[in-house]
């Protein structure tokens, strides 16, 4: 538990990372360093997208599964990973 906490802290402290959000199975952000409204918004929107992406991957091959979904936008990069019903979201600005 502590190691995960440390890893998350390191990610947050990394250069260019704007924020991280950990979302639980009900869609509520349980740990974030962004403000609550933003976190809730991200959580809600990305949840559906991740489910859809996962469904797509698994439809093609049921033995396959989604690990990470990466959305590169103009301003930054959003990385989403579903795991055990939870959702881990990291927003990073890769070019400083």
């Amino acid at each position: 538990m502590a190691e995960v906490e440390e890893t998350l802290k390191r990610i947050e402290a990394h250069k260019g990372v704007i924020g991280t959000i950990v979302v639980n199975a009900e869609g509520i952000p349980i740990r974030t360093n962004l403000d609550n409204s933003t976190a809730v918004q991200y959580a809600g929107l990305l949840r559906h997208l991740t489910m859809l992406a996962r469904s797509t991957v698994r439809d093609i091959d049921p033995q396959n599964d989604l690990i990470v979904l990466r959305i590169r936008t103009k301003k930054y990069e959003i990385m989403v990973a579903p795991e055990n019903g939870f959702l881990l979201i990291v927003i990073q600005n890769p070019c400083e």
Partner: protein, 661 residues
């Protein structure tokens, strides 16, 4: 005479008014058409025109332009079909159907009348009026008679004095009463039937079945699956919220690093220095990632080792070479995928001086410490302690352990490794169940004989031959290299007076079975053929050489690091006298480079220095040259080529010697 013409004229008028007959006479007599004034003027052609007259059943009076409003089309629509029937005369008859109510009533009343009149008729016939009045009178009587005789006959409503009266009772006021039950709880359920959902259900079923089978067989323990080291995480099963995203967070850390160091990652994978073509034979080293750990800043890198199975993972032993500054040490593992933070960290009590990762079982690491202990760490185990550690009782060395090397499993399939220490002992350690069993292999002394004297050889380096298992070399602090065998514990097979100062590294050539290389603080690097007492090649590098390493891809390429912060790369095939690359890789001039290792598959090297940094560098193409194929010939691959290459070089050297002799 006046009346006559008037008569005639009147007659004429009458005659004109009459249609046929007389009019014809007039016409035939007169031969002169007299047109009335308002007759239509027609031409001759038009007069001859035939006009057909059709007899139709259409009613000319029927309206032809009735318009009705159509709600469907929301407009007025002309009705096309119109009733063409024209009624000319209506006469209501007085006939009644015999079965109708009225007829029945009349009949019943008439029957009585006929029966009465029949009697009267027989009585008084001639008088027509009489029967009328009595008839009329009797009409009344049959009514009353009828009413008297037949009560069942329905009472005919009297149009004179019939009156109807109605009354209404009080209507009870209506009241509505309703009762509503609690609606059953509703929930919206939606699901999709995808291929993967079906697959998941099947897999669950399968697992359940298997579990049942296992329960029946009552197998106590389940074998741990061999998970890959990178995916292994310290996951607690207490249902803690965060641990569930442990795996993902690890991946994310790497992704975030990849994003930040994107250019480095691209360089690592794809960059090939094109300017090497113009550089003749020289090559360059491209700096890639730099690895450092905050808590290990004061320590220097004392050992480096790549992992054979996961070629992006390497181990760094940290400690100190300085005799006076001995403190704690660290064993740290880095992955190329994450340069910001180590994968595994093991703090140790005393400085690590050497380490070696087992070639087949890459989760086992043998470590030698400054205080003389050896330990074996298992990466698969959780926890920061080694799984095996030698103590004073179990034969730990009395001096720092300078080298450890894993060996092939012995006949009992136990893992074992060798360690070399300044106390002159070469010890073999075997992992038997939970213990570390040691066996002294050889006690090295100055004279080459077994002696337990206080003056043991300060053995610093040890290297085992790849193919010939029992053969190994030891380098000493005095600068000599001894060739020994595991089987002969009392004597050396050969001694080479290699250097004037301590031998820092001794390594067999990975391809050619006879060649080994040694380096020393006396600024030289020497290449030997173990059958010959003198070195084949000697290189002077102008600074104390910290470490030397053969490359895994070519038998003639090796790299050396010096205390002035320079990496020298040599390729004997290209240039027998000079390095093809000499490059300074650290910023501060005072940093001493302590170790160097080639990656087994990627064209990169890692260099450790005495400040605790590990720098990774990419070798430019010139440094990785393989022998060019002659036109038309296929390039032979494999170690034989490398051996042949080396052999050729050596033969070149030997020939002049022989000639000289």
């Amino acid at each position: 005479k006046v009346p006559k013409p008037t008569k005639a004229s009147s007659k004429k008028k009458v005659e004109e008014g009459v249609d046929t007959g007389d009019g014809w006479d007039e016409w035939s007599h007169g031969k002169a058409l007299t047109k009335p004034a308002d007759q239509l003027e027609l031409t001759e052609a038009e007069l001859k025109e035939e006009i057909t007259r059709i007899l139709t059943a259409n009613n000319p009076h029927a309206p032809q332009n009735i318009v009705r409003y159509s709600f469907k089309e929301r407009s007025y629509k002309p009705t096309s079909v119109v009733d063409q029937m024209a009624v000319h005369f209506v006469l209501e008859g007085s006939l009644l159907h015999q079965d109708s109510d009225e007829a029945r009533r009349l009949r019943s009343s008439n029957d009585l009348i006929f029966s009465e009149t029949a009697t009267i008729d027989t009585g008084a016939e001639p008088d027509e009026e009489k029967p009328e009045t009595p008839e009329a009178g009797e009409e009344d009587r049959p009514d009353s008679v009828a009413s008297k005789t037949d009560k069942k006959e329905p009472k005919l409503t009297n149009q004179f004095n019939f009156s109807e009266r109605a009354s209404q009772t009080l209507n009870n006021p209506l009241r509505e009463r309703s009762c509503q039950t609690e609606p059953p709880p509703r929930s919206i359920f939606s699901a999709t039937a995808n291929q993967w959902e079906i697959y998941d259900v099947y897999v669950e079923e399968l697992q359940k079945q298997e579990k049942n089978k296992e329960k029946q067989k009552a197998i106590p323990s389940k074998k741990d699956n061999e998970k890959s080291k990178k995916k292994m995480m310290l996951m607690e099963t207490q249902g803690d919220d965060f641990t569930k995203v442990g795996k993902a967070s690890k991946i994310f850390e790497r992704m975030v690093n990849q994003n930040t160091f994107d250019d480095i990652a691209q360089d690592f994978k794809y960059f090939e220095d094109a300017s090497d073509e113009f550089r003749d034979q020289e090559g360059t080293l491209l700096p890639l990632w730099k690895f450092q750990y905050d808590k290990a800043k004061r320590l220097s890198v004392t050992a480096l080792c790549w992992n054979n199975k996961y070629q992006d993972l390497f181990a760094v032993g940290m400690g100190s070479y300085d005799f006076s500054k001995q403190g704690r040490g660290m064993l740290v593992f880095y992955s190329l995928k994450n340069s910001a933070f180590p994968e595994y960290i093991y703090p140790t009590n005393s400085g690590v001086l050497c380490l070696h990762i087992h070639e087949q079982h890459s989760h086992l690491i043998a470590v030698g410490f400054y205080d003389g202990c050896v330990a074996v760490y298992n990466l698969k185990e959780e926890g920061l302690e080694p799984v095996y550690k030698s103590t004073a009782k179990t034969g730990k060395h009395t001096d720092p352990v300078w080298q450890v090397r894993w060996q092939n499993d012995d006949m009992d399939n136990n893992h074992n490794f060798y360690s070399v220490s300044s106390d002159g002992r070469v010890v073999s350690w075997t992992l038997v169940k939970n213990e570390l069993v040691f066996t002294d292999i050889i006690r090295l002394s100055v004279n080459g004989a077994v002696s337990e004297g206080p003056e043991g050889l300060v053995v610093q380096r040890l290297t085992f031959h790849k193919q010939i298992d029992y053969l190994f070399l030891v380098g000493t602090e005095e600068g000599k290299i001894h060739k020994c065998s595991k089987t002969y514990s009392s004597q050396f097979l050969e001694t080479y007076n290699a250097h004037s100062m301590a031998v820092d590294a001794v390594k067999w050539n990975p391809f050619h079975p006879k060649v080994f290389i040694s380096c020393s603080s006396d600024w030289t690097v020497k290449i030997w053929d173990h059958t010959i007492n003198t070195p084949m090649f000697t290189f002077d590098l102008n600074a104390a050489v910290g470490d030397v390493s053969w490359s895994p891809y070519s038998s003639t390429v090796f790299a050396a690091v010096t205390t002035d912060g320079t990496v020298h790369v040599f390729d004997l095939n290209i240039n027998k006298y000079e390095a093809i690359c000499q490059q300074s890789v650290v910023a501060k001039k005072k940093t001493k480079l302590t170790h160097i290792e080639f990656n087994p598959i990627y064209p990169i090297i890692i260099v450790g220095d005495d400040r605790g940094y590990v720098t990774s560098l990419k070798l430019s193409p010139n440094l990785r040259k393989k022998p060019k194929a002659k036109k038309g010939q296929e390039l032979p691959k494999g170690p034989e080529v490398e051996i042949a290459k080396m052999e050729k070089l050596l033969s070149l050297l030997r020939e002049p010697e022989q000639n000289a002799v």
